[in-house]
Amino acid sequence: MEQSTVLEFKCPCCNATLPFHGELQQMKCEYCDNVFDIDTLRTLAEEEIPKESPEIGWEEEEKETWDETQQNALRTFCCQACGGTLITDDHTAATFCPYCGNAAILPQRLTGGLKPEGVIPFKTTKEDAKAAFLKLCQGKPLLPKFFTSRQQVEKITGLYVPFWLYDCSADISGSYQATRVHTWSDRDYIYTKTDHYLLRRQARSAYSGIPMDGSSKMDDSFMESIEPYDYSQITDFDMAYLSGFLADKYDVEAKSGEDRIRQRVETSLDDHLQSTFLGFTTVLPTSRQVAIHHSKAKYVLLPVWVLNTRYNGKTYTFAMNGQTGKMTGRFPICPKRSAAWFCGLWAAATALVSLVQLAL
């Protein structure tokens, strides 16, 4: 029987060329004696070709920029030390930079920039933020003393952080080499039977509102730690919301967030497929690709309470979700306290172990 395409089949087990066995009407390997169905082999051969992950297909939308009246009603402040730029309304003044604590912060004219499409106003007060901060500091004996001083805590600032919210749909298609292992034993031997499988999967899903912070000055991982925000509370932007608060001017383009968004979507889809791999002992991907398309990004301002403290030349950040109250923080470790605790614990532990030794 001649084949129309010149396609040579290799044995999946030992890689030898497979001849057709007339009697069995299947392909039989001369070396390992395994028998294969032609359709299975054909499917296997198609899987071998690796494909490139395609680019995310962006849908470009027209974004609004500030108009004349808005530009006049807004003020920007620029920090001389770290270069951070903040926007607020006419009535609010910034006395120090919330990023580096520096007081050399000068007002400037607002020139251009995108207008946010939506905003979640602050739902928590500064008192809430201060209380939450102090609570987080409790039970941390390694913290340097001055950290919870009133003067320090007072510096908590309400900041609107610019975010890009991504909507997209994604497809995953992959093939996997899987094994199922059975072991049993009798008096003299341990037996291991390994069944080899080829798994093919294809799925799709859609996502809405994956956030990515649009400010290079805010650590992305910190902002991810205070997720999620309740988007049902997004309202149209109004300058009145800025009163008493500062807003960060965005400086990260929507396209820059692509890699991280792709990462999160891929993990999500991989997790979905993981649940279809039950019963297999090992699963290894031979080819897997995720295509992301129909994606668009929305520019919004989300509320965050921020406190940045400098200690020993490094900046330590505390951030609290201004809507839900979820908080995260990185705290400095006082080396003296650390050393004191280690010595104390060491002495106590050594005494305890010696007692146990004597008792045994």
Partner: protein
């Protein structure tokens, strides 16, 4: 009447004596080859009692003129098993007929006296027997035996300090880890639109199967080689000539 009464009394006494609980265990010093005086035997007997109290082990000393067609190992094993001694203990056999000696260990004594330990004991004790000073040899044996039975215990301050440092380090690491609660999000699950997930292809193709087998390893105890006596019990031990 008096004579009959006396005979009855004697019979009763004899009967009582027979019914008296006899110790099922034989004496620990069995000097059938008469290498030592009865005072020396008693002295060693006392010493072995001490061993029982201190280590809960039966240390038995057996001397015979010959081992009646049995190998010294079999003779020692069987004697120990059939004379009511404890599961944990050892027997030291001297066969004067073939001038062979054998130590057979049982129960916890198997692991306590490793092959290395028995080698060292041999080097120290057997010269006594070669020279014919049997009592001295057994005394020396009982003298050095505790050194091998006792594990090197107690007072490893260095070890305690190391473990202490390890524990302190772990606790401190835990304390330090709570100083940074930053956690990047793992996936986009929270933002998945409900009902948008569809699994379109779900195909499992069977390819081939492979069977392999592996011979099971035989069990050996570390440090002490063991053999089984005719009754099936395990013993450790060592033997030689003197």
């Amino acid at each position: 009447m008096k004579r009959k009464f006396a005979i009855c009394l004697i019979c009763l006494l004899l009967a009582a004596l027979m019914v008296l609980p006899v110790s099922a265990k034989s004496s620990r010093i069995q000097d059938f080859a008469n290498l030592m005086t009865s005072e020396e035997d008693q002295y060693l007997e006392q010493w072995c009692n001490q061993f029982d109290i201190q280590y809960t082990m039966d240390v038995v000393i057996l001397t015979v003129p010959n081992t009646m067609d049995f190998s010294p190992q079999d003779f020692a094993d069987n004697f120990y098993e059939n004379n009511g001694y404890a599961d944990d203990g050892l027997i030291f056999l001297l066969d004067m007929g073939s001038r062979r000696w054998h130590i057979s260990t049982s129960g916890t004594a198997i692991e306590a006296l490793s092959d290395r330990d028995l080698e060292k004991i041999e080097q120290k004790i057997i010269p006594y027997f070669s020279e014919g000073t049997y009592f001295d040899g057994f005394c020396k044996f009982l003298d050095i035996l505790p050194n091998y039975l006792e594990e090197d215990s107690g007072g490893n301050l260095l070890l305690a300090a190391l473990i202490g440092a390890g524990i302190a380090g772990i606790v401190l690491l835990i304390m330090r880890s709570s100083m940074n609660t930053k956690r990047p999000q793992r996936s986009a699950d929270t933002y998945e639109i409900d009902g948008s997930y569809h699994l379109n292809t779900h195909q499992d193709l069977f390819l081939y199967s492979r069977l392999s087998k592996q011979a099971k390893p035989k069990e050996t105890s570390s440090g002490s080689t063991t053999h089984r006596s005719s009754s099936g019990r395990s013993h450790g031990g060592r033997g030689g000539s003197f």
